[in-house]
Amino acid sequence: MLFELLGVPPQALFAQLLIGLVNGSFYAALSLGLAVIFGMLNIINFAHGALYMAGAFVAWMLLHHFGIPFWASLVLSPLIVAVFGMALERVLLSRLYHLDHIYGLLATFGLVLLIEGTFRQLYGVSGRGYPTPEVLKGGWNLGFMFLPNYRAFVLVAALAVCFGAWFFIERTRIGSYLRAGTENARLLQAFGVNVPRMMTLTFGLGVALAAFTGVLAAPIYQVHPLMGFNIIIIVFAVVVVGGMGSILGAIVTGLALGVAEGFTRVFYPEASATVIFVIMAVVLLIRPQGLFGRR
């Protein structure tokens, strides 16, 4: 009845729901990394999108130059990018912690220009195609839609990593240090924990999550230098809606906004790029700390 009213067959809605979840899992994994970094380092990492792009590119380079397959890249590429990220944190970002948030945002904005510019200079803008791994080619016909195997894999992999990270932070000893650090870094230092090193590792973790998402994205999207350029703004919105620094908030909001975007594509496709910002504005006005934020 409701479906008929909306003029869209229910199958199409199920299909969009599923697709929305797949896209949402990308948002979730990316915003999780951003939230972890913000929570611990108090830095809004504008370069998150660029590092996501770097993750995809490193996977492509590994395959192209060294013949390293997708599965190995899934581990190697995040590691490589994380090491690069930690170097950045040590050399640049660690000098900004005592300052206003604005400076972190601005410094990472500069990093975006640098990283994207370099890849553009090296590979041109049209980028490269990354093949889907052989095992995951094809798909299932679910009756209401054709679900490519690879998309199903992305959904599972991204969610597994998200909840793994959540578990790590909420349920392990190191995770508890991390949470304590976001509350009161000085106190934690007094307890004999090496806080600067923890910050570096946290940044590495956040960056690795971005790069991991990048590798997941490589077989779906064209791997090109600007691929992280627009997604970063969406991921910002996700983090803000979920509540800055809230781990669970980032995951749930990521998925929810993916679904919201999917539905918009059916009813009013032209607005699909903007719906997230409308939601963000509404949430900020009603609940400024975000859906899952405290205070």
Binding site: I44, H101, L105, L106, L113, L114, I233
Partner: protein, 328 residues
């Protein structure tokens, strides 16, 4: 005891003298600067200068909000671009004269600033930045969709027309003096705003908002007023750009333009009156004269940006002021 009193008196007097001197120095400096701007088009290509002035005004407006109000708007392109579109449309399609087109654009931006400002100033810091960005994205979406903006073609071939129906604005030199007048007007508005009781309250709010509230100031009204003035001046800059280039296009409302104005302000020195102007000169010059370097330009800009944030946060003018003070 008496000696100390005399010393205090002396230092007070010399402080007063110094202030007088500084005032005089400032006036002389302002006179020289204006004179230089008047002569500039005979040495440098006027269209380039006009572009610098428009962006400088845009950056000054932005600086009023960030440097003095302490509010980082990450969507200032919305006001710049809205005014540009409105001015272009009213001049080209409705046939308004240039001064009315400028006014229409500025008013539209002020109105938009009132709405967005009213909604967003209740939040501070990074939330404020995000909410302004969200509204700017909506404006971008609107500009992409609305038929009157002509999509990615932009509104083209906007006539420069006759100022007050008399002065032909087609020669670049004539237009330059109009743009210079607009810039000086905008600059003066920013200057007066900062150096007024209003500006002092604004500073107090930036430094310690709860204290300003406890002193009885309704801080939200001050912030909103600043936001509207900033949006209106950004709009004025956008509308003036339309007269210079005779077009309004999507890049004016794109978030990169919002980012660019942040770069200019930061590079020049935020919270300094001249900083945005210097920042605009540097960025526009880089863009125009390094245009043959293509992608390298972004890398260079990124490096400059990083260096600014890490090494000299006071910006070019901030540092120059410090050096000057030491010298004197």
């Amino acid at each position: 005891m008496a000696e100390r009193e005399a010393y205090a008196l002396r230092s007070e007097v010399s402080g007063w003298e110094a202030r007088q001197g500084a005032e005089r120095g400032r006036l002389i400096f302002a006179a020289i600067a204006v004179l230089a701007l008047i002569c500039a088009p005979f040495a440098v290509y006027p269209v380039f200068l006009m572009k610098v002035l428009c962006f400088a005004l845009f950056a000054c407006a932005f600086n009023l909000l960030l440097g003095y109000g302490g509010l980082l708007s990450f969507g200032h392109a919305a006001y710049y671009g809205t005014a540009a579109y409105i001015a272009a449309h009213t001049i080209k399609v409705w046939g308004l004269s240039p001064e009315l087109g400028l006014l229409a654009g500025t008013l539209a931006s002020a109105l938009l600033g009132l709405v967005v400002g009213w909604l967003s100033i209740r939040r501070a810091g990074i939330y404020f930045a995000m909410i302004t960005l969200a509204f700017a994205q909506m404006i971008y979406f609107f500009a992409l969709q609305a038929p009157f903006t002509k999509g990615e073609d932009g509104i083209q071939a906007v006539p420069r027309g006759y100022l007050f129906g008399v002065i032909d604005l087609r020669p670049d030199l004539t237009l330059y003096y109009l743009i210079l007048a607009i810039f000086l007007f905008g600059f003066y508005v920013v200057y007066r705003t900062i150096h007024s009781p209003f500006g002092l309250v604004l500073k107090a709010i930036r430094e310690n908002e709860p204290r300003a509230i406890s002193l009885g100031y309704r801080t939200e009204r001050f912030k909103l007023a600043t936001f509207v003035v900033s949006a209106a001046l950004a709009g004025l800059a956008g509308a003036a750009t339309v007269l210079v280039f005779q077009l309004a296009s999507l890049t004016y409302v794109h978030w990169q333009t919002s980012g660019e104005v942040v770069i200019m302000t930061l590079l020049g020195g935020m919270g300094t009156i001249l900083g945005p102007f210097v920042g605009a000169i540097v960025v526009v010059t880089l863009q125009t004269h390094l245009a043959a370097f293509g992608a390298w330009l972004n890398i260079i800009l990124g490096a400059i940006f990083l260096a600014c944030v890490l090494l000299f946060r006071e910006g070019i003018v901030g540092i120059a002021q410090k050096r000057l003070k030491k010298l004197l």
